[in-house]
Amino acid sequence: MPASTPPRIACLLVPDLPLAAALRAHPELGGQPLAITSDRGPRAEILAVSPEAAQAGVRPQQGLAHARTLCAELCVQRASPALERAARNALLDAAFSTSPRAVLAPPGSGLLAAEAAAFVDARGVGRLFHSERGFAGALCERAAHLGLPAVVSIASARTVARIAARTLIAAGSSGATGTTRVLPPGSETDFLPPLPLDLLDPEDRLASDLARFGLHRVGDLLRIPERGLVTRFGHRILPLLALARGEDRSPPPPAPSKTLLEEALDLERPIQTLEPLLFVLRGALARLRARLALRRLAAAQLEIELGLSGGGRDARRVAASAPTLEPRIWLRLVSLSLESRPPPAAIERVRLAVEARPPRGDQLDFFRPAGAPPAALDRTLAELTALCGEGRVGAPALADDPRPDAHALAPFRPQPSRRDGSSPPRTRLAVRALRPPLPAQVLAPHGSPEAVRSALGGGCVLHCAGPWRTTGRWWSQDERFAFDHFDVQTEDGLVFRLRRNHVARRWEIDGVYD
């Protein structure tokens, strides 16, 4: 975007963040009278109420006991800073899904403390969304998709856009969410003066001083010379004056190169068993998935931090073999991790974090069969990893290890091959490996096996080739190995690889020629 382009800034504003965050985490409470309280207990103060609760007469700053007398069906949720932080970041994700430049607005104070806002660079968006109004509507829809009812306004300065959004809320109360307003360039000079000064969110003491001087509207402030204002109110008036003039026109900064998405929540009661924890995680993963999908990102690794009763902390990391969006896959991997290593105490807090990255692209080959599309392959790999467990899905590889049964697993990333497909067919006798090796009873009075008995079969040895000795890692007590291998055919027709394990002092069958 050229620097000469006049600034256009959209403000995406959620009027009541504690309520929106609670409903985002508990969508089943939508449509019910709901109050967000500061604490547990009947003396807790109400911070926010849903429209249904407001209709019953419940208001913020009431006591919970009083509110219950007004509305017997009142549902109560304790305010959760973790949920609100996640909701604020989700708002930023909605902003980044429409524009590469966005930033969270500083939190409000006083009566506006519950709002959350993000500024979005709206220069040139008319080409993508047909008009600025279309852009504002899309922004609203995306926030609503993440469970955040919001309003959007577009203006030439951040403050003007934010105040325009606040006027939408003031005009329509909470039913205004989803509405938009676009102030054409140059109309700010007519828009701001009639508005009350409270919309600029002055600090409490300054607001009372302004009221004492009879300054109630933005226009009242702008009519007085700056020098006179400084003489009467001191330098603290200057930031407010800058807001009233709409001087903050700098575009928001670009998105950071590293994208870390987090979802966290404080649990009402400590959880001790796996099933309720998975239920909680399922919701958090679904919210993460919605945010990733909106930004067209995926994640290959999930960090889980569990806050434990007594102040402890359990941190773990699960990885899928390929970036994926599917909560089902993550849930399966998390379940496997928790089953293999349960947390040592009851869980009070949960935090999930993913480092998001763009889905993998692929370069197709003109002359080779196309494999699965990268996204489908990544999804399949993640599904298989969730079913089989970590370290059990990939491309087989030859291990750089002298042990005869060594093998390796590499990530499945097939590249265009130089093989031309015209190599002569090979009729190789293959080995079917037995992992772990099958114990065998062997009669070997002269060193070579003469009779074998095992779960696989056995009998007198008809043919025996070997031994071939393989030894290594003699310097390590735990890793040293020494085998004498024999190729043996017994009278029941089986041909297998028999070995004398000199370290464990036993006979084993580690493969069948099949």
């Binding site: 069969p369 990939g394 009729t427 006798l429 293959a430 020629y513 099949d514």
Partner: protein, 234 residues
Amino acid sequence: MPLRPRPTGLDAVDRMLGGGFPQGRLSEIAGEAGRGCTSLALALLAHTTASGAWAAMLDPADAFDPLSADAAGVDLARVLWARPRGLEEALRCAEHVLTAHGFALLVLDLAPGTSQQAPRVPDAAWPRLRRSAAGTDTALVVLGQQRLAGSCADVAVELESTRTHFLPRPDWLAGRDTRLSLVRNRMGPADLHAHVGWRMPGALESPLHEATPQAFQHSARAQALGRPRPERAA
């Protein structure tokens, strides 16, 4: 959609199958341990991956040997090897691979491993797998000690071992002969047979019955070189 066969690269076997194992269909390779099922599967994997296509190997018994596969000519980078922990997971993995629509071959190895217990596959699993494979470009091949899919299999091949070749003085396993019987074929004639002689890696390419003392010397040297740090026991 016309059925395209997925050849094994072995002339006798491909002639018997009418070109190879059909894509989009369920095929079975059945034979007791040591009869050559794994060797045939690796030949199929080798020919598939040599053409640049992808293959998947579902191996609940953890019996796949990468060294053998490499010796058989399999392009290991083009093989997706998954080791489910049980039969149920293996069947679900198979459905995921079939719905990925990118693998030319899926080998589902249900032959027993160390436990030597044959899996008990629910009857409902086979129609479901067959339906998942239908309409895809994936040839689904199931390995087992005996035929498992019954009438759901479009092609069934049974293997029996006919002869094992040990070269004398000192004894040396040189190879094994297998007789393949096409016992079921929905796409063409059945009751056909083929013979394949499997050889040890490093053995001469000449037919086994023509092995001479010179051939044995060469074979033994080549085989010895192919083994990791071979050492003759005292």
